[in-house]
């Protein structure tokens, strides 16, 4: 109880509330702009969080991403362009509803059931994280090693449709993490004699470079005029929502549950949750023939799933320090930067901060309703902001954000370098997400690998000695080896 009171003290302060309101508007705006993603919103926020206290810094990220994932539905319904990848699954459905004159219902369902899904995911986070942390306290370097490997494997296999290129992107991220003296031996690696690289490659400029700069560059390569906003009246956003909630209660629970679970899987995030639940909703619906013609059921289920996934992704992030998706990968970086090192001991050493983070999730999802209503009402104005003005402004913020970390232009150089690399990667269908996960998890994997090797005196079988480590190891190796084995077997049979 005392922890809860302390957490409330940390959270309910003017500066934190101000941060939450400002980042709400920021998240809503970024999410509603086609081409700007929730991950990019987080990347752009990180330089500001550098100057904040831990709780407002995390509050800023949680609020902005929750809002951005919802507001991605707005251009989806009005322009048939998803604002963020998480809205892509049901964009045709939402637009079909708009053409039928039901834009207010499509957006209302997106808003209300995003908040419900987000609250469901938060409830799971609040319940599961401390329970898992109890178990994780008994973990040794062996369990952490296998867990990180499993996380990275999921990031490559589940989160991308191109596992081979995902694997290479992951290796690139792991290699970036190797630069500098931050390794178990404290040895200077890959620094090219540059003293700025001794401490390793700064996380924030890489992040800004890889997630924001490619969008700015891509905007230059496409000067097509913006799509036409559907001419519709948006009257009562909340009308019929109670009826829908009752009618599709099973779908809401199913969508939120699947969303939370997919979010909690390392590497898979809100966009995959939305795709999977839309497909599940269609499969189990009594009116599956109506899907694609402007039927609200899929929007309700996958809309709740993508926001539930956001909270779900925080379970492995807080308990094990293993990110559930790109956004939590960034958030883990911020947690480290703020001295709130994720892991089970966080729940013992800083319980007030943990409870404050839980409260932020609840608050952000509740705040989504009024803020989202404002965003829907002003949707047409938001969508009229010209990209030709917005993108240079974003670039300027990237430059200053990368500079602000240690007040040198070296950060800007890193940002530009990794921005070009990420642009080239995406042009050639290499996903960027696994690279960021590799960058964040690299030091953890290496530390636990070397520690375990030294403890076991090089006996690799000892990596499987402890029950949980052994199970995790077997699962990981099975995921690595079974698919190629099946492939070879099928070819051999032919």
């Amino acid at each position: 109880m005392q922890n809860l009171i302390n957490a409330a003290d940390l959270l309910f302060r003017y500066d934190v509330m101000f941060t939450i309101v400002v980042t709400s508007f920021f998240g809503l705006f970024v999410g509603a702009m086609p081409g700007l993603t929730a991950t990019m919103a987080t990347a752009l926020l990180v330089p500001f969080t550098f100057f904040m206290e831990p709780v407002p810094a995390i509050a800023a990220i949680v609020t902005a991403t929750a809002m951005a994932i919802f507001s991605g539905d707005i251009p989806g319904a009005l322009l048939r362009i998803p604002g963020t990848p998480a809205s892509a699954a049901y964009v045709d459905e939402a637009y079909a509803m708009t053409l039928k004159g039901q834009a207010d219902q499509a957006l209302g369902a997106g808003l209300v059931f995003s908040a419900i899904g987000g609250l469901f995911g938060t409830a799971v986070l609040i319940w599961a994280a401390p329970a898992l942390a109890e178990v994780a306290l008994k973990f040794s370097s062996f369990e952490y090693f296998w867990l990180s490997c499993l996380g990275l494997t999921c990031a490559v296999l589940i989160a991308t449709d191109r596992p081979l290129k995902g694997l290479i992107a992951l290796c690139i991220g792991l290699l970036i993490a190797c630069v500098g003296v931050n390794n178990p031996a404290g040895y200077q690696r890959f620094t090219f004699g540059v003293s700025d690289l001794l401490g390793g490659i700064s996380f924030i400029p890489v992040l800004i470079g890889m997630f924001a700069v490619p969008e700015v560059l891509r905007s230059a390569t496409d000067h097509g005029r913006g799509a036409r906003i559907a001419q519709v009246r948006i009257d009562s956003v909340f009308r019929h929502m109670g009826r829908y909630a009752w009618k599709y209660k099973l779908g809401i629970v199913r969508g939120s549950t699947i969303g939370t679970l997919i979010g909690a899987l390392p590497g898979a995030g809100a966009d995959i949750a939305a795709w999977v639940t839309y497909a599940v909703s269609k499969k189990f619906s009594k009116e599956s023939e109506k899907f694609g013609t402007g039927h609200i059921e899929g929007i309700i289920e996958s809309g709740s799933a993508n926001n539930a996934a956001l909270a779900g992704a925080w379970v492995p992030a807080m308990v094990f320090g293993i990110p559930g998706d790109s956004i939590t990968a960034i958030a883990i970086g911020v947690l480290y930067m703020k001295g709130l090192n994720p892991g089970p001991t966080l729940f013992i050493n800083k319980p007030d901060a943990v409870y404050a983070i839980f409260m932020v999730f609840v608050l952000a999802n509740l705040l989504m309703i009024p803020m989202g209503w404002i965003a829907i009402k002003s949707a047409k104005q938001i969508l009229r902001v010209p990209k030709e003005i917005l993108m240079p402004f974003i670039l300027l913020n990237c430059i200053v954000g990368a500079y602000a970390i240690d007040n040198t232009v070296f950060g800007v150089t890193l940002m530009l370098f990794f921005g070009i690399i990420a642009f080239a990667m995406e042009e050639n269908d290499f996903p960027v997400g696994p690279a960021i996960l590799g960058l964040v998890l690299g030091p953890l994997v290496e530390e636990n690998f070397i520690k375990s090797l030294i403890k076991s005196d090089g006996q690799l079988l000892q990596f499987f000695d402890r029950p949980i480590a052994g199970s995790l190891g077997v699962v990981t190796l099975a995921i690595w080896l079974l698919p190629p084995a099946f492939l070879l077997w099928r070819r051999w049979k032919r």
Binding site: C171, L175, A185, Y187, R189, A220, I389, M391, A424, L453
Partner: protein, 158 residues
């Protein structure tokens, strides 16, 4: 610019080989059988294996996928110019911000990119001035980040 997977694979394989060779030169930790070279070597091997498969895939698809394919935007001078200007102005910021200072360079960046994006001149002027001042106020005044003043503009009172 899209490369055939075999081309990307060759480049990545070369990178992996450099990483492996470089990592083998790192000394082991005193009194231990492992050293700082082990982990990057393993990553290099993973990358090399992935690059090998990529080369194979690209080679098999060489009849339908060209070695290098230029996107349409590269052949359109205005779009290629816009792309180059983004890189050029960011590079100019890196090279000259200490001499020229944040305000002048940031204005050049915003105004230049808005101009090539086709924004009307008075909207460009207005949005660039407001944009620069907003970023300046936010970072320099609120977050206390010492943005480069610029030696050329030392005489100014700000």
């Amino acid at each position: 610019m899209k490369f055939n997977d075999a081309v990307s694979g060759l480049f990545l394989a070369a990178l992996a080989l450099v990483v492996i060779a470089w990592s083998r030169t790192f000394p082991p930790m005193p009194g231990q059988f492992v050293g700082p070279g082990l982990f990057p070597t393993l990553i290099g091997c993973g990358m090399l294996a992935g690059a090998g498969l990529l080369i194979l895939r690209g080679w098999n698809a060489r009849a339908v996928v060209p070695w290098v394919a230029l996107d349409d935007w590269i052949k359109t001078p205005r779009l290629a110019g816009h792309f180059a200007l983004i890189l050029g102005l960011t590079l100019a910021y890196i090279l000259f911000s200490e001499q020229i200072g944040f305000l002048a360079l940031a204005f050049a960046l915003l105004a230049g990119l808005c101009a090539i994006g086709g924004v009307r001149w008075w909207v460009n002027l207005l949005s660039s001035v407001i944009g620069v001042l907003a970023v300046y106020y936010m970072f320099e005044r609120v977050l206390r980040v010492p943005l480069p003043r610029g030696e050329l503009f030392d005489f100014l009172p700000y």
